[in-house]
Assembly symmetry: C2
Homo-oligomer: 309 residues x 2
């Protein structure tokens, strides 16, 4: 059994930059514990009000913990990140932030809700009326871009980042294309519950400890994030392989997700291109994972594993 590397809590960044010094170096196959801060970087507290939302300093949002240097990871490899355990706290926040979100023009006023998180019953108490299933996951998880310099933390890219993909719960495996030696994995923006799309721009935002197992995969060639969802993942009984498209145009992101799925069907199951394209049409589901982290959106194509005889 491998021990779990504990990454020091004060190792976090507000931008993607492959020149950031690693917080830790690990071997392929090792497990790592990261202490993710909430997306407001503690600017929102349990006793905060809508007034505090209006005052958020955006230069300090979405800190990501890490980076983790994975020995042996080289550009062109894939990094497999298995979500082993997500440990949420006992509260989270959801806000309408002026100027942010799918309906920003129609909701100009700040608004805040503090929810209670109840791990024992696996629920999030959003209101007297609403109890959400607790589905903790990292909204932001990615590796350092190949391109030098500082890159903003808010938009996701093909290197991952702010994917806001609610399916990355315990048991899921995220595959990321490696851009630089050591990959330099970071995560943050942890969410206790979220719908596909994250339409108002925030989920149930909560600081969280995350344990992930990180492995280098030289047998996979991917150009954007992909995900394996096991049959045991809540809400996805058959198990799925997911190919994502990330970019500023939803139609093109859907095309990229579909193209990646066609390649996957060819490489993994030997299905030729025309048949694979038809198969994406009759069997795969398109979902919008996030539509608020401008300028890039994320679309996923979901292949149910059970259709193969």
């Amino acid at each position: 059994m491998t021990s779990i590397h504990d990454v020091r809590p004060e190792a976090f960044s507000y931008a993607w930059d492959h020149s950031t010094a690693p917080a830790i170096e690990v071997e392929s196959g090792d497990s790592v514990l990261l202490h993710a801060r909430d997306a407001s970087d503690e600017q929102i507290q349990k006793g905060s009000t809508a007034r505090d939302v209006a005052g958020i300093d955006f230069s300090h949002v979405n800190p990501v913990s890490g980076p983790v240097f994975v020995k042996g990871a080289q550009p062109g490899d894939a990094l497999a990140v298995e979500l082993l355990e997500m440990r949420p706290g006992d509260w989270g926040w959801t806000a309408l932030i002026p100027g942010f979100g799918l309906l920003a023009d129609e909701y100009p006023e700040p608004w805040l809700r503090i929810s209670q998180i109840e791990p024992a019953s696996a629920t999030v108490r959003f209101s007297d009326q609403v109890s959400l299933p607790l589905r903790p996951f990292p909204g932001t998880i990615g590796i350092a871009p190949a391109e030098p310099g500082q890159h903003p933390i808010l938009p996701p890219t093909r290197w991952g980042g702010n994917l806001d993909t609610k399916h990355l719960t315990e048991g899921a495996i995220l595959y990321l294309p490696v851009g630089v030696e050591g990959a330099l994995l970071s995560l943050g923006d942890t969410h206790a519950a979220q719908g596909d799309g994250e339409v108002c721009g925030t989920a149930v935002e909560s600081a969280m400890d995350a344990i992930v197992r990180i492995s280098v995969r030289r047998d996979l060639t991917i150009t954007a994030p992909q995900i394996d969802l096991p049959a045991t993942t809540q809400g996805t009984p058959p198990g799925y392989h997911v190919c994502t498209g990330v970019g500023p145009d939803l139609i093109e992101a859907a095309r990229d997700a579909t193209r990646a799925m066609i390649e996957h069907l060819g490489e993994r199951y030997g299905v030729e291109h025309q048949e694979a394209y038809a198969l994406t049409s009759v069997a795969c589901d398109l979902r919008i994972h996030e539509i608020v982290d401008a300028p890039n959106w994320v679309v996923g194509s979901f292949l149910p594993n059970t259709i193969f005889i």
Copy 2:
């Protein structure tokens, strides 16, 4: 018990037009059996090849059976259409049609696959390697537009039509805004299996008999299709209420679906607008139902019924 009205098989159209004479008149609450033709209008047969796909006459695609005049339905009402039973035949077809589909530019050659439909095992045999769950539904279901004249059959609109929404299987209830007296419901383009998106432009296309129960609802005010998915619908265990957005821009369609869901949360559960917007973000899933029936796409916002205490 109400008897089932059998609509004569030769009553079908290739366009939406509210001046089309009704095939039958029924009372609110009646059930109707419609004999839907396949989307090629029998141009593709069990023994067809890719060559036949290239020769398809598009003026004869997607015939819709009906229309059914529902007594008492008036503009401003909603029409509730419950899918009681879908009876597929024993085969279906899937094609890559030149110039059609999400990746049309990359797949210029026609291609055809005939699948065996096996109702006894509830499967569709797509290939030696792939067996799909049999999930029969009408790809096209809608009412006559309020606007006079002939309207093309291919793009869906807020009156429904070619929604290509795979979730409209047995047990689902589709709500449509009524545009003209009698509503004039028609359906066709029946599918044995499809993924969300229908990315190549065809599903497993199959002629099918459909039994639907049609009711006038004066208590609902909707401006685009909505759907109730019961807990028993396959693949959707918790049960969902779905609000759709239909239009030529995916982002705007997602906005429309979200706005409709916010209204629904207010009307049905008394949730005020800001909180409802936040709730769509933490609990509702955006899915792309179709992305090929140019110029209009369909996005659905899925509310799980079980979150309400």
